[in-house]
């Protein structure tokens, strides 16, 4: 059966901390022991961003988990509309109604040897590429990968401008210095994340390419460009997708992404998934991002449309 492991709860979680790490960005720390203990990188929570008795805005909003510390989860988001603005005005001690952990999480390859610090000449195996507010779930993934393999992944951040670059401090705490590209050149390379990624993948060579994985999260055009690059260079690639989610739990079929009608033989079939990776959904060529994703192998996605 096509099922994610259904360890989900609805919880009322007190806010432990609220900070503003960059202009128009808010980070919340929520006491959520069940979610903290069961969540995996790539999963998200669905938060009711209004008083319970109100009717508007009606629906919950999805937020990726950026980090887990003890019994708390961290989420980091950009303030875009009324819900994110309301969440940014909460005070420590107030509680939020949360569903989680949701989604399938990244499928993390585990059949490789541990790369040790004594062999620096071996090329890195993981490339994490985050665009704008797509960075936070990759921070969780980076920490997990370091724990598993002892080696820091390559981390690339893309953003419109310097103000949209987030996560650098979090990464530096993990010993990671990200490569950065901005559309306007106000920080790092004046260009796109693929300008940074392509040469790195290229110089790996074909033998290592198949053992590498690119994990990407960000706007659709960025994911599409990365997916096409990885297909060209034959590097396995997972993308974490985003779509409006009325329910977040798999009952409404609203958050679908168009996939290839018959899933392609993925180059990663040799890899085991630690995260309960689902087989292609029963729902024909449209898969629910909330339960059959958000992490999906890029070569199963139909990248036809531009946005």
């Amino acid at each position: 059966m096509n099922r994610v492991s259904l360890s989900r709860r609805q919880l009322v979680c007190p806010l432990e901390a609220i900070t503003f790490p960059a202009p128009h960005h808010t980070e919340l720390v929520l006491y959520a022991p069940f979610i903290a203990r069961h969540c995996k990188p790539g999963q998200f929570v669905h938060i009711l961003g209004r008083p319970v008795q109100n009717s508007d805005p009606f629906l919950r909003r999805a937020f990726s988990i950026k980090a887990v510390q003890n019994d708390s989860i961290h989420i980091l988001f950009r303030v875009e509309g009324r819900v994110t603005a309301w969440l940014s005005e909460r005070n420590v001690g107030e509680s939020l109604d949360i569903l989680g952990p949701l989604g399938n999480g990244f499928a993390i390859p585990c059949n490789e040897t541990i790369v040790s610090h004594e062999s620096p000449s071996l090329p890195p195996h993981h490339f994490l590429v985050g665009g704008g507010i797509g960075v936070p779930p990759l921070i969780f993934l980076a920490r997990h990968l370091i724990g598993q393999t002892g080696t820091a992944p390559v981390f690339i951040i893309g953003a419109r401008n310097v103000e949209q670059v987030i996560g650098v401090d979090d990464l530096s705490q993990l010993g990671i210095v990200p490569q950065i590209a901005t559309d306007d050149g106000s920080l790092g390379l004046h260009g796109r994340v693929t300008d940074l990624l392509a040469p790195l993948l290229d110089k790996m060579g074909a033998a290592y390419a198949q053992k590498a994985t690119v994990f990407a999260c960000g706007p659709w055009p960025m994911l599409r460009a990365i997916a096409l690059l990885c297909r060209q260079l034959q590097v396995p690639c997972q993308v974490s997708l985003e779509e409006n989610m009325p329910c977040g739990i798999g009952v409404c079929n609203g958050c679908v992404v168009k996939c290839l009608a018959s899933p392609a033989e993925t180059p990663a079939t040799a890899m085991e998934s630690q995260s309960g990776w689902t087989i292609p959904s029963a729902y024909n060529e449209y898969r629910r991002v909330c339960v059959d994703g958000p992490a999906i192998w890029a070569d199963q996605v139909n990248w036809e449309h531009d946005d």
Partner: protein, 313 residues
């Protein structure tokens, strides 16, 4: 904590069961089609045995992929959806979903749709033989698929499809009406004449939204069905009008989020209610509503629902 008085029947809890024709349910709160999957998807978050009934996602004879995304857009106090009846088709449903539904602790009502009356009849004939199906709701009112499915905008087509379904099954048969008509009472009457045992009033209202920066509709289907609290007064009016037109039970649907909302519909004459969009914001909405109805009866010293259903003065 409300003190619970003892009633003459010896129980301290008010009786919530409702009888809709030949169907008796333990509570008047059902989950609406398209908002609860087939139960199993949400079973870890909701105790299904506390529900009056589960109405499944619309089934069609053959699998449907549904509409391209974007399929949903939030609007003031509600949302638009144009899912497009994505479903695995009847055969896979029977193999993969029915086993769970038989054991889930709540009666299961199958919601079905077809492009022709023959499709409806086929689905009814097949479901008629399936153990664990307590009733059938006819989706003659989905606004999100290209022509052929919107029987409920025409009284003659409505009567015809209901009559064909009626001949094909002895199960309780409800017609789910569209509010996108000038006079829902003509459709209600037609469904009753066709042989419906009950009416589900009502499906979503056709609406749309526009992205002003890209100058495109927010939904790939352009239009979609509006649901949620925004439509409640409209749905309530439709229920009220239908109740006064037919003598079969009317099940009220439309933006019911709290017990107070449900009670408005019951007092206006609905024999039961369905909870849909509210489940997205609150997975246990139907159960909270059920408890709230129970609390209301206790507070007003009422033994059961019969005194309040249709008690509008």
């Amino acid at each position: 904590m409300i003190e619970r008085p003892h009633f003459s029947n010896g129980n301290s809890e008010p009786e919530l069961s409702v009888t809709l024709g030949s169907l008796t349910l333990k509570s008047p709160v059902l989950t609406a089609s398209g908002t609860f999957g087939y139960g199993e998807e949400i079973a870890d978050l909701v105790d299904l045995s506390q529900l009056g009934a589960i109405i499944g996602k619309t089934l069609t004879r053959t699998p449907r992929a549904g509409n391209p995304p974007p399929r949903t857009w939030e609007t003031p106090a509600g949302m638009l959806n144009a899912i497009g009846l994505q479903n695995v088709g009847l055969e896979r449903f029977l193999q993969e979903k029915m086993p769970f539904l038989r054991e889930c602790g709540a009666p299961f009502i199958a919601n079905i749709a077809g492009e022709t009356v023959e499709d409806f009849a086929y689905l009814c004939r097949t479901l008629n033989q399936i153990e664990g199906v307590a009733g059938i709701e006819l989706n003659v009112s989905c606004p999100n698929v290209a022509h052929g499915l919107d029987f409920a905008t025409d009284p003659y087509l409505t009567e015809d499809v209901v009559a064909h379904a009626r001949k094909a099954t002895e199960l309780p048969l409800w017609a789910k009406l569209s509010p996108n008509v000038s006079d829902i009472t003509t459709i209600a009457r037609a469904a009753e004449v066709g042989g419906a045992d009950g009416l589900s009033v009502c499906n979503t209202f056709v609406g749309m939204a526009v992205d002003i920066h890209r100058r495109r509709a927010r939904l790939s289907n352009v239009t979609g069905g509006l649901s949620g609290p925004a439509i409640r007064p409209l749905a309530l009016r439709a229920v009220y009008q239908c109740v006064r037109t037919v003598s079969i039970p009317v099940i009220g649907i439309g933006g019911i989020t709290t017990a107070q909302d449900a009670l408005e519909f019951l007092i206006a004459g609905a024999s039961a209610v369905q909870v849909g969009t509210a489940t997205f914001a609150q997975p246990n909405a139907a159960i909270h509503i059920t408890q709230g109805i129970r609390d209301y009866l206790t507070e007003h010293n009422l033994k059961n629902l019969q005194t309040i259903i249709g008690s509008l003065q």
